[in-house]
Amino acid sequence: MSGIDYSERIPNNVELSSNKSLQRALEHWQPEYLKWWGEMGPEKSQTMDVYLRTAISVDPKGWAHYDYVKMPDYRWGIFLAPAEAGRHVNFGVHKGEAAWQEVPGEYRSTLRRIIVTQGDTEPASVEQQRHLGLTCPSLYDLRNLFQVNVEEGRHLWAMVYLLHAYFGRDGREEGEALLERRSGDADNPRILTAFNEKTPDWLSFFMFTFITDRDGKYQLAALAESGFDPLSRTCRFMLTEEAHHLFVGESGIARIIQRTCDVMNQHKTDDPAKLRGLGVIDLPTLQRYLNFHFSVTSDLYGSEISSNAASFYTQGLKGRFDETKIGDDHRLEAAEYEVPDVVEDRIVARHVPALTALNERLRDDWTADVQKAIDRWNRVPEKAGVPFRFKLPHKGFHRRIGLFTGLHVSPEGKVISEAEWTRKHKDWLPSEDDRAFVHSLMGRVTEPGKFANWIAPPLSGINKQPVGFEYVRFG
């Protein structure tokens, strides 16, 4: 089962050829997908040869095969992690039953909605990032961008496979709609707000892959716990690909910090204006971008208290992060969880039934993961002898969804007045000037081994290749 059939038009490890009607439906969707890629995939990239990782099988040895590929020829396909023999539903009211190989009728529409919402983020991010290739800081980074893009494309395939295979005509229609919505489109936008924001520059791209793709990781991990086995297996394989995206973001920002610290030490200055004059991004600006992306992505987890999240859990559709590693009853019948609350302009904690606080719990797990990565970033200035440290803003800062909607909360977690927010928000969020400055740095560097002035080279290349390897060839 782990081998992938590449002789098929659609590479897969799900024995697609044994289900002719499903195969036909997907083969019908395939040209539509390629058309979408042509229109909305990375701009002016169709003839480039890109040194990409392609899965040739889903076992450890086979899924990282590197070679030059033209992106439209990338072998997008359907890969599920190997089935786990005797897997059970591991939480909720169905705990202990055999995992479902078909969609339970009563959960059909809920599951469809979960899959469509997840699936919609995949093409959305490709659309958001489609102009970035024109301003790449190096061939190495250009290659990483394209790797992220083709894998987001494959993640769309993964979700469309589930829709086609298990949701009949409704599923096929959803599959088409996934190719019709457009990020940022006024009439037919993508489903989630954060996926309609622009990714206008590489700093935003790195922040997005660092923070927002990490939301993807936590959502996929929660779905990988699902009692619906095909969804679980799909998400498990997607998670292995997702890790690379997080790497691109985390190391990308770390390299920007490194470069800025180097220039700070060379010129013995921490003056943002001087540093900008020297063509690097001052650390406070990076902090403001971090604040923005962290807060916007926090909203993706939804309201602190959610009956939807509770029923997804009870029904066995979406678990907690690392559900099977948690030592409790996996039904959450009596457990409580701490969520924030606002009482007379003070943020306090209160305990609620854990079942209703699952969004908040996943957000907290994600936040802890982001925090650890930020600790690693902070080692860069620490090593360079620069006193600046990055800090995550309070979870109530700049929120548009949930409890904090309509309130103004400072990054330190103090509820503040409208007037104070108006006065200070420019210190906390990127201003138009900040964005214009970052934008002004975005030149295109395509000579192998050369990097834009605002970012340091990586510590090592891809697949043991040298950093100066010709990761992209222009056809």
Binding site: P60, L239, T240, H244, L246, F247, E250, S251, L459, P466
Partner: protein, 406 residues
């Protein structure tokens, strides 16, 4: 090396590069990877070096190794912000054991065109690698230095024969050796080692003698045409018979010829990229009487006949040994032609050989030729119902497609 073999090769994770994604821990079939709040680490007593974790790691952090007398403990690994410096002798650091980092770097660049290192042909002879190092080179004596290009040609390409006397220097066709130029550069550092492919077959430039031939072009201009004096090439080209040269190597475990009867060779080269092709062709010429079979097809490009090294001897090779196809890009007497144009002209022969899984392809010369040659292969395949990209992948992974360009 004696010392190195007594050390343990310990598998570690580079905490500076690792993003703590848990992929390795998830992948490890024997739970030999664990983590704390700070680091992911490898259990030294448990890890059996199966390598399952290497490919899935999104960062490359997992591919870290140290030669140590005593394994780093878990507690030590948990405390790291970065890997400890490697204190083992330099020769022990690389996974290949005998290849110094400089050679590894040059080889990587030269192999880019084939997507990194490829395995050798299954029937290749076992190569000796790194018998001599930069620190401990072997002394060779110049036995001859002849100009190959016409006196009026713009380039000075030379055939230089080195004799190793009583020192062993077993080298196979397609392998290289490192030339150590005496003296220091402008910054007072020793010159970098330069690699040259051997142009002679394994039993010597002169059969039965302990000598090796090199094909060296005197570098007088850089890629952009600006005047520059190539350090190693000028050193070599100026050598006189009897001069002594320090040599390291041999190097190269991939660009080797098949040894089994009936194997076909397609050789494509420009300029001094002809050196390994000459070695392979000469090996086969000397064995013609054995009637081992296998076709040899050579595409060789130069600006003019006068600038094509070995033009005279090539023209004398028997037709039943080799099909020689020459392309000249600046010959006043004929239209401009590159190797890829010659390949297209011999499309049927190329396609027939590509269709045979006993065919081995070698490409050596300037980097610029790669894309043109690739396009020609693609076109030829398309015209003969072959899928070049699939075929190339297959040939590469089965040791039948080798690229060395510079």
């Amino acid at each position: 090396m004696q010392q190195a073999s007594e050390l343990i090769r310990q598998h570690l994770i580079d905490p500076e590069i690792c993003i703590r994604c848990n992929t390795c821990e998830e992948t490890c079939p024997i739970d030999a990877i664990t983590h704390d709040e700070r680091n992911y680490v490898v259990l030294p007593d448990k890890c059996d070096n199966c390598g399952d974790c290497i490919a899935p790691c999104p960062t490359g952090a997992i591919d870290s190794w140290r030669r140590v007398a005593q394994a780093y403990t878990l507690a030590e690994q948990f405390s790291w912000d970065s890997l400890p410096p490697d204190s083992a002798p330099p020769d022990a650091q690389s996974a290949d054991g005998d290849v110094p980092p400089e050679v590894a770097r040059l080889t990587q660049v030269a192999n880019q065109g084939q997507g990194g290192a490829a395995p050798p042909p299954w029937s290749a002879a076992h190569p000796y690698i790194g018998l001599y190092s930069i620190a401990k080179p072997v002394l060779a004596t110049v036995a001859g230095n002849y100009r190959l290009t016409a006196e009026d040609a713009s380039s000075d390409i030379r055939h230089i024969v080195l004799d190793f006397g009583r020192s062993a220097f077993p080298v196979l066709e397609g392998q290289s050796l490192g030339v150590l130029v005496p003296g220091v550069d402008a910054k007072g550092r020793p010159h970098h080692m330069r690699l040259y492919s051997t142009a002679s077959p394994r039993n010597g430039e002169r059969p039965g003698y302990n000598n090796v031939a090199l094909t060296v072009k005197r570098v007088t201009a850089d890629r952009g045409g600006a005047p520059v004096r190539g350090v190693a090439s000028n050193y070599l080209c100026d050598l006189q018979r009897g001069d002594k040269v320090n040599i390291a190597g041999p190097y190269g475990a991939s660009f080797l010829m098949p040894n089994h009867p009936g194997a076909n060779l397609i050789m494509i080269c420009t300029g001094t990229g002809s050196a390994p092709m000459r070695a392979m062709t000469e090996r086969r010429r000397r064995r013609m009487a054995l009637k081992e079979g296998g076709e040899n097809l050579l595409f060789f490009g130069a600006r003019t006949p006068g600038e094509l090294p070995y033009f005279g001897p090539l023209m004398k090779l028997p037709r039943e040994l080799i099909d020689v196809q020459l392309a000249f890009s600046r010959d006043a007497e004929r239209p401009k032609e590159y190797v890829q144009d010659r390949m297209r002209a011999r499309s049927d022969a190329v396609a027939r050989l590509l269709g045979d899984d006993n065919t081995f392809v070698y490409l050596c010369g300037h980097k610029q030729m790669e894309s043109g040659v690739d396009a020609a292969f693609e076109e030829i395949c398309a015209a003969h119902s072959l899928d070049w990209s699939a075929l190339r992948n297959d040939m590469r992974s089965s040791g039948r497609y080798h690229v060395e360009t510079y």
